[in-house]
Amino acid sequence: MIAIPSMRPILILALLAGAAVSTPPARAQSAAAEGQKIAFDRGKGNCLTCHDIRGGDLPGTIGPQLKDIKSKYPDRNDLVAIVTDETKRNPQTVMPPFGRNRILSEQEINAVVDFLQTL
């Protein structure tokens, strides 16, 4: 957490003050940062292979650009479903079933979805 540069001083203060008390915004933010790492990591999500995503280099063009995701999919369960196994929605999709094939764990998928909701 300390390593995250973008964290605003206020949050850090809050963290320092109530160390034991969980602070939802901070947690969400750190999960999103973790999710971004997983999404960009070539050995993990490697989502950039197919999707243009803000902040990532050398995106592919196979999938749609990932933006305004929160307005398009207000229900995070929809996103979890897409990342877990998009072949359920579209049997012909080229998107790998990250959950079904255990490419990502449930926890990792949750982090990726937190990240998607920031886009």
Binding site: T49, P59, G60, I62, V94
Partner: protein
């Protein structure tokens, strides 16, 4: 975006209908003639601006900028060295005095378009790479690695002497030949590996799209330019090298080079490109 999605759904549906599954038909009689026709039509419809022979240029046929790069590269082709080496190897006798030419029809010149062929005596698909190693072994020499430079040099030279000749793969009237073809086709369309990709996922559904920085080649004509020099490899690659690399990329376990399934796959892929000219050796980004 919606447009793109719509297009890719339509094309996926087309692919399914025209090429893949066909459960009812596949179960009875495979029909290679109809397959090849539907296969070629799928690609020429998808890329109406391309002439059939353009497809043999792989990713370079898919994009203007890349095409310009290709033309520049062809002025000083990076496969030149392999070609020279291959020519020399071809002319140099084995220890027993025989040469590669002695193992092949027409002394091995201008015959690339006939490979792979189905050998009715053995009941197997024989690729050019396999035939070359068999030639070596029959003459008391050790076989070459299927994925290294020597094999690439030999096949580069043999492709070069066959440039412009259309692929002419035959399926003899032998149920085993048809079965080999059908198995190759199934391999091509079967999804596998942790990432759940088939060969067709990338080379039929997504040709012309970028996967990271690489532009995907269309499956039509995909073997015509082999072997290829790839800047990314800083070296030459045989068909065997390309197949095993594509399998590893999808976190699958590649078969060993020249495994029966790969030979059947090569048979299928070459057959459906019948009529397109040999253009190898090729150069790639």
């Amino acid at each position: 975006m919606i447009m793109r999605l719509a297009i890719s759904f339509v094309s996926a549906a087309l692919v399914l209908a025209a090429l893949a599954a066909q459960p009812a038909i596949a179960a009875d009689t495979p029909n290679p003639v109809a397959d090849a026709k539907a296969f070629q039509k799928f690609f020429t419809n998808k890329f109406p601006q391309l002439k059939p022979e353009d497809f043999a240029n792989g990713p370079y046929s898919m994009n203007e900028d890349l095409h310009r790069q290709w033309e520049e590269k062809e002025q000083f082709p990076p496969y030149e060295f392999a070609l020279e080496t291959g020519k020399q190897m071809f002319a140099t006798p084995f220890k027993n005095g025989k040469t590669y030419g002695d193992c092949f029809p027409n002394q091995g010149i201008g015959i690339r378009q006939d490979y792979p062929y189905f050998d009715e005596r053995e009941g197997k698909v024989i690729t050019l790479e396999l035939a070359l190693n068999r030639c070596r072994e029959a003459n008391g020499e050790l076989p070459f690695s299927y994925v290294k430079d020597e094999m690439a040099s030999l096949t580069a030279y043999m492709a070069f002497t066959s440039r412009g000749k259309p692929f002419d793969i035959k399926i003899p009237d032998d149920p085993r030949a048809l079965e080999a073809y059908q198995k190759g086709k199934e391999y091509f369309y079967t999804r596998r590996g942790q990432l759940n990709f088939s060969c067709a996922t990338c080379h039929v559904q997504e040709p012309g799209e970028r996967i990271r920085a690489e532009i995907l080649a269309p499956a039509l004509g995909i073997l015509n330019a082999m072997p290829i020099y790839r800047s990314e490899w800083s070296g030459m690659g045989t068909i065997s090298r390309r197949f095993t690399t594509c399998n590893s990329q999808i976190r699958g376990v590649p078969l060993s080079p020249q495994d029966e399934e790969y030979r059947d796959l090569e048979y299928y892929l070459s057959y459906v490109s019948n009529g397109l000219p040999i253009s190898g050796p090729g150069a790639r980004p």
